[in-house]
Symmetry: C2
Subunit: 144 residues, 2 copies
């Protein structure tokens, strides 16, 4: 397992242990973690705190993201994908897209490289959560 995806998975599991939604994210530059984050909709009653957004929040002000890679345990939604496009993050590595297909084509159409590792561990983590908390998950992706 890639150490950065492992760090994103650890963030996701931390979120689940807090009663939240198990999606984690890590921002990397030059082989080092700049910031980590996880979905905090439940913990902070905050709909904009998806995993990737929390990670970018925690990274603070960066002069540029052109030399960064963002990892996420799940394919980014349009909010997170729009942020990646706006911030000009050139590369996204995701754990899976089977439980949520997200906005891959939108990112690719803006020149973002998207790599889907299709990890069974990430699929299992989301399926366990969606089965346990279907209403919460549908609220997070606005499918209510």
């Amino acid at each position: 397992m890639d150490q950065f995806m492992q760090a994103a998975i650890d963030e996701a599991r931390l979120g689940r242990s807090e009663g939240g939604i198990p999606i984690g994210s890590v921002l990397v530059r030059n082989g080092e973690i700049v910031a980590k984050g996880h979905n905090k909709r439940v913990q902070e009653l905050n709909p904009i705190k998806h995993g990737e957004m929390d990670c970018l929040n925690n990274a603070g002000r960066q002069r540029s993201y052109r030399d960064t890679v963002i990892y996420s345990t799940l394919m980014p939604c349009y909010m997170c994908a729009g942020t990646i496009v706006q911030f000009k993050i050139p590369k996204v590595i995701v754990g899976e897209s089977r439980t949520f297909d997200g906005a891959r084509e939108f990112m690719e159409s803006h020149g973002v490289e998207v790599i889907d590792l299709d990890l069974q561990e990430c699929v299992d983590m989301m399926n366990e959560f969606i089965e346990a908390e279907p209403v919460l998950w549908n609220e997070d992706i606005m499918e209510l």
Copy 2:
């Protein structure tokens, strides 16, 4: 002046008075303000706190946004536009798009109605800021 756009302008001016970027936003449902917000990149050292994102943060968890309208003093960037699409906010009313053209076509391609009031007051507010703080503005839209 529309009272909701006036409230968004008031938020933008509050942000400028705090040393921040003068962009404000208001979320409205059934003719009442649900939440207000303004760009807080400077105030909170937070790159995800654009005006619209701060407003949606302040609105907290909402069951649905299908009956809401979001106002912004400036055309939304891809981060904020992606959030509007993801949250299924059906209508966006903006103060202007002359100083930043944003992601109008992206929103419209996803069925969002976008109304641009093209208000000179909003254009003047942004031009004053961009002239005074060009580096900060370019950081916020990632044009460094």
